[in-house]
């Protein structure tokens, strides 16, 4: 299938799912008294879902190119946990230290995405420093696991400290649990430039990432400025992960599932993959969010639970295939 056909197909699926997400739900849009409010809430929620999915899927493509490993993804490598910790730290910093001190022009909503971005940047920098030179899959995955545990632990520590302030503690718990139910215009507008910037930048760094697939030494011999590719890929991945986590919390496996599925159809070229990953990721998370909204349960099923239920078995499948040498993509 050509890349253009894949893009069109994904766009059609995305638009159809978006229309369904707007029109169907517990509230009835035929009721004129609630229609505007319901459509507005659903509209921002579907925008948040699409931005979260597109960001995580493109971050997955970029980080897989950087580590030359199809099993790398923001959630597996501890980047989402780092972003979540950064978000928690930012919330705490604002509520306990900066509220009332900062001028009113500085919006509190700005702190969460910036904190998430810095947390993701910190996690990726540590990972790269430890695992880059060895290129060993086990070391990469173990380092990601350790970083995830570390940042989850640090985040829990912050949460335990935040319990003294009831409102802050509640907000931090809601943020860590993830999901898009409370997402409004402010969060979407704060994350939109980060996500757009990260996706466009990732696309333009696609060619050097293609050459980097041959290893750092060969890429350098072909004229790739490897330190610059490494540095900027981390920045784009952190930007995208920060944007996604600030919207949806810790949503796992999107950056693994979507690139993996698309690579089987489109091949390994980053400039073909990244637009498809943006569309495919947006569609996948929107679909999962619709499922989260509509699956019968006492309360709404968290988005991360749905992506985890789909992603974890697939991750194990890919891991086993890679281990047996059957898939080196």
């Amino acid at each position: 299938m050509t890349a253009a056909r894949v893009y069109v197909l994904l766009l059609v699926l995305l638009l159809a799912t978006a229309a369904a997400a707007l029109l169907f739900g517990h509230a009835d849009v035929a009721d004129e008294s609630v229609r505007d409010a319901v459509l507005s809430l659903r509209g921002y929620r579907l925008c948040a879902a699409m931005l979260t999915g597109a960001s995580l899927a493109v971050a997955g493509v970029v980080v897989q190119g950087l580590f030359r490993n199809p099993l790398a993804s923001p959630s597996i490598l501890g980047t989402t946990a780092g972003a979540a910790f950064g978000g928690q730290a930012a919330m705490m910093l604002y509520q306990l230290v900066l509220v009332g001190v900062l001028p009113t022009t500085v919006l509190p909503q700005m702190f969460l995405p910036v904190g998430c971005l810095l947390g993701a940047l910190l996690a990726l920098s540590i990972l790269l420093a430890i695992a880059r030179t060895h290129g060993d899959l086990v070391l990469l995955l173990l380092t990601g696991f350790i970083l995830s545990s570390l940042f989850l632990g640090l985040g829990n520590f912050l949460m335990s400290m935040a319990q003294e302030k009831w409102e802050l503690g509640r907000a931090m718990v809601a943020f860590v649990l993830g999901g898009l139910s409370g997402t409004g215009a402010d969060q979407v507008w704060m994350a939109l430039p980060l996500a757009t910037f990260g996706i466009v930048a990732g696309f333009f760094w696609g060619r050097p990432l293609d050459v980097l697939a041959s290893g750092e030494e060969e890429a350098a011999s072909l004229g790739v400025d490897v330190p610059a590719v490494r540095r900027w890929s981390i920045v784009w991945t952190a930007t995208l992960t920060g944007a996604a986590v600030s919207l949806g919390g810790n949503v796992g496996f999107v950056g693994l599932i979507v690139p993996h599925a698309l690579r089987a159809i489109l091949g390994v070229e980053h400039r073909r993959l990244i637009p498809a990953a943006a569309l495919g990721g947006a569609w996948f998370v929107l679909l999962c969010d619709v499922a989260a909204r509509t699956i019968p349960a006492r309360t709404e099923v968290p988005l991360g639970v749905i992506t985890g239920l789909v992603g974890a078995p697939l991750f194990l499948t890919v891991l086993l295939r890679t281990w047996r040498g059957g898939d080196g993509a």
């Binding site: 293609d210 041959s214 011999s221 004229g223 091949g267």
Partner: protein, 255 residues
Amino acid sequence: MPEVLLKAADVSVVRGGRTVLTRVSLEVAAGSITAILGPNGAGKSTLLRAAAGLLPYSGRVELLGHDSETLEARERARQLAFVPQRSQLSARMTSAAVVAQGRYPHRGGLGRLTASDHAAVERAMERVQVQELAERLFPELSYGEQRRVLLARALATEARVLLLDEPTASLDIPHVLSLRGTLRSLADDGHAIAVVLHDLEDARRCTDHALLLDRGEAIANGTTDEVITAEHVARVYGVTLIENDALGFRLEDGR
């Protein structure tokens, strides 16, 4: 006097606190093939990588008369191509896409492959006879086929200086003979070629000049016949050189 395209002067390399190359000099001229010889751990590959700008070094490396360190990475790659012994590429990329990577120094990260890029890729694949491998996935090729694709990628850069790390290692006889023929024809076209070799017989048959290294130091430098002598071989390898007729081979088509 042939033009010297690559000139390394007093190059030293320190890795992990240990000096692995001590003030080694090397000149590679257009139209010639130079062998870099020596036992394991002599510093052959290190010298090649330093000359290619892939390792930090002290001393001076000149590429077509310019200090290599002052050249921008893509500019250097347009003048010098490096062929590793084995590629780390495991992604499911076609051979044609791998060869097309050789155009990165010309077009960088932006822009599509132009008609001249496609022509350069075609020429490179034809030269190394890998057209029939174009649509096959690189990781699924045999070791010998991968080596040929990597050489085609180096040729696609259109660099005049070619550095090859053990190009004949683990190749069967027809591939070795074919590679020797390709290298000679590239040299005849004005390329300056340096190859790391283990096999002294190989060096005698396909190179014009040689540099013999031992424990990071240059032992002999000159024409291949001047370098591969009983005295040098005994000193560096600790074995006696026996001059006799070795087995000879040629390809069926006479090359």
